[in-house]
Assembly symmetry: D3
């Protein structure tokens, strides 16, 4: 599959209300539930990008900066940041909005990797991503560094070959 | 509260994947689960319009035209169509998308009514709705006929006073 | 299928307790959960009437008159009100009971339509309904008006042909 | 509380459909889900008998004679069989019905004990039970033997004092 | 299958936190949810003992001695106590732990019976159990008395033949 | 809090069966559900280490190497690998076992960070971790590199100060 797609074409918006059944004993959104929502939003974005069934290959990072209170309106926005051979990095931004003013505050950021597969579970090539906005471009660039780091940590890349990442440490 | 708001300001998008735990024994999305998603999307739209806590006053209609298969990506788009004293009519459009082509097909339409309340459960006035697109205007007009019909059926309005609705039958 | 059945033969009773996981942030039964229960009770009644697999064709109306508090005992009573060619209208009455006195209060009424289908999803004819009590007869009559109205609103019936409904407006 | 109540006054009917999300990997109703439904039905019957908040004191027995297939209509019928000082034995009969013929088959029987409590969790006296039908009388009698057995097994009653039960072994 | 296995080889540990969605209206762990966890832990222990698919044959007893509060850490420990022809008795001990001291308190004990089956649902012979600790031996012995009692109550064994059980009443 | 604790004292074991309601449309364990289980096991381990209420601060990494099939027995083993001022890194190993042979295969590894808090949500100091086994020591050392990396990526540490991590790139 040689085609290319704009990053924004994969965008998935998922809005939720935090019901009592979604909370932890502190009365905030239970982390496990948020992770479930993130995985659904992320896999929809990946599926929209490649037009194939996808499976979760890794959760690369999820930050939990502020607790999300019961009854909050939570918006998850997932978008493919960069595609590699058969995998796609997806970034999911999580926002909470103030009901009265409508102002949104970002409270989580998740980075996940999905792989496109065929009926037998064999990975399939996916379209390249074309970033357009400043944010999309910055995330596109950072995705390569994250991938190199991930390959180093799993022993599949030698640190010396991680040129992008190495430049962080050696100027 | 005398302010007015554009219909589109209340828009809520909620995207889901139909997992096995969401299906009925025919392998399609279970109606009760779809209704749950509709109520969440609808109440978020109403809450965004009025900036208040809202409660569901009525489900006026939900059509189920085509079954939604397991593994489908389902998008719910909810928007306030018209506001009355303390109540808001919300229309929720439900789409299924073809994974390969990305083409969306509408498969359900739901109409619900929400009421804004204060801490004691007393209804509160809500902002008026300003429709902009052709669709928003058509739905804004139809909302009045639906309301008159609802008031007639519940015995709170005399058929003779339902001028909008009556014109359907007497030309 | 030419047989006829009494309306009461389809009756389905479903009793629930409102647990914390069923509530909204106001501490009352979450509307989406109630709708899920209504759809289960309604489809059982329809299935009992026709002895076939059924699918939800429409939710025609659900009223939410009083909030149902956490820990309430909720009883749903569903019964087929009238059958048409391949569809059945089901009315679901929802009651809450006072634990100490046992007195029941009606708090919701839902009207839904189900269609009997075969293995290929093709609609099948269903038995006629014989109403017996005064309430069953009143609901049987009203079901025709609701059906005419529904057909008019969806453009499948001309207002002039909706004789039952028209009589509401023209005496 | 010195009053007495008929066993049938506590009757609770709870009807369910076995959805895919309720099944085990064999495609039958998952035992844990059935137990959840049994506990809800049983506690409603106990609460109806005593007009108080109740807590589960023990599950005395649940038999699983035949597997319940996905898509089955399951009816649980719970009724208080006998009351002791502050506790009530409830029997829950579980039936599956043949969709075409409507014929019901009993597939589970559960026996549970509930205790009425006040706000501090202190047990409260409950009304006596008056059995009327043959089945109610047989269950009322057997409840005493079960209670004696339970007290023996937990070391709170000497076998010699369990006159009802002893007669099973010594004629 | 003639092999034997140590009781401890079947041990299954399942740890949970009581989230708000797991509670009853008193703010304690809902009995139905605990029963669901017990059935999962019990069937894993049985499956580990026999290396086969198992189905729940009976819940013989579950005691609820102390309520388990929201936010508690709950540990379920399930282990096969004795095997008969094709069935296994499993005992599940439920503990709550004090977060600060780490001290565990036993709050429930459940006894359940599972049967190993093949693809057609036919019961299969299971390995014998070898008890090692004092507790395992005591439970192994008691399992026989419980089985005899169960067979008597269901009419499949004459009281006179229940030698183990009879000795409780006649010295 | 100046005390120290062995890493193994925090160990939490959580065993699950993959039921149909836990699967994705490929018939494998749904990623979001696994993440929910991981967060529960991880937070229990952290809570056992510090004896305090904890909140999830970050999911640092979750790998999904092999799909987990429906009906699998899944064991999660969570243990604190290292503690910093107020935070704890927890590693959760996820295993699937072959029912017949009992042999376990590791299929996921998750790394998460939890923070101990008081009633006002203020972070509290936690005990140090004493690693004992080779694996515990290796994970203890790696935890520091991961923390430095995390601080660099979030801009809170200069690459030059990340001595542990830098040595990966510059020999």
């Amino acid at each position: 599959m040689s085609e290319e797609k704009f990053a924004s074409e994969s965008k998935c918006v998922k809005t939720e209300i935090v019901l009592p059944g979604d909370t932890n004993p502190l009365g905030n959104l239970f982390g496990g539930r948020l992770m479930e929502w993130i995985d659904i939003a992320g896999s929809i974005a990946a599926q929209r990008h490649c037009g194939r069934v996808v499976v979760t290959a890794a959760i690369n990072h999820i930050s939990f900066s502020v607790p999300i209170k019961e009854n909050s309106i939570v918006t998850l926005e997932a978008q493919v940041s960069r595609a590699f051979e058969t995998s796609m990095e997806v970034i999911v931004d999580v926002y909470v909005e103030n009901t009265v003013t409508g102002k949104r505050t970002k409270c989580n950021e998740a980075i996940a990797t999905y792989v496109a597969i065929d009926q037998n579970g064999t990975p399939l090539p996916v379209p390249k991503v074309i970033p357009q906005t400043e944010l999309e471009k910055a995330r596109y660039d950072a995705a390569l560094r994250r991938r190199q780091l991930s390959l180093i940590l799993s022993g599949r890349l030698k640190p010396d070959d991680a040129t992008e990442l190495k430049s962080l440490f050696i100027k």
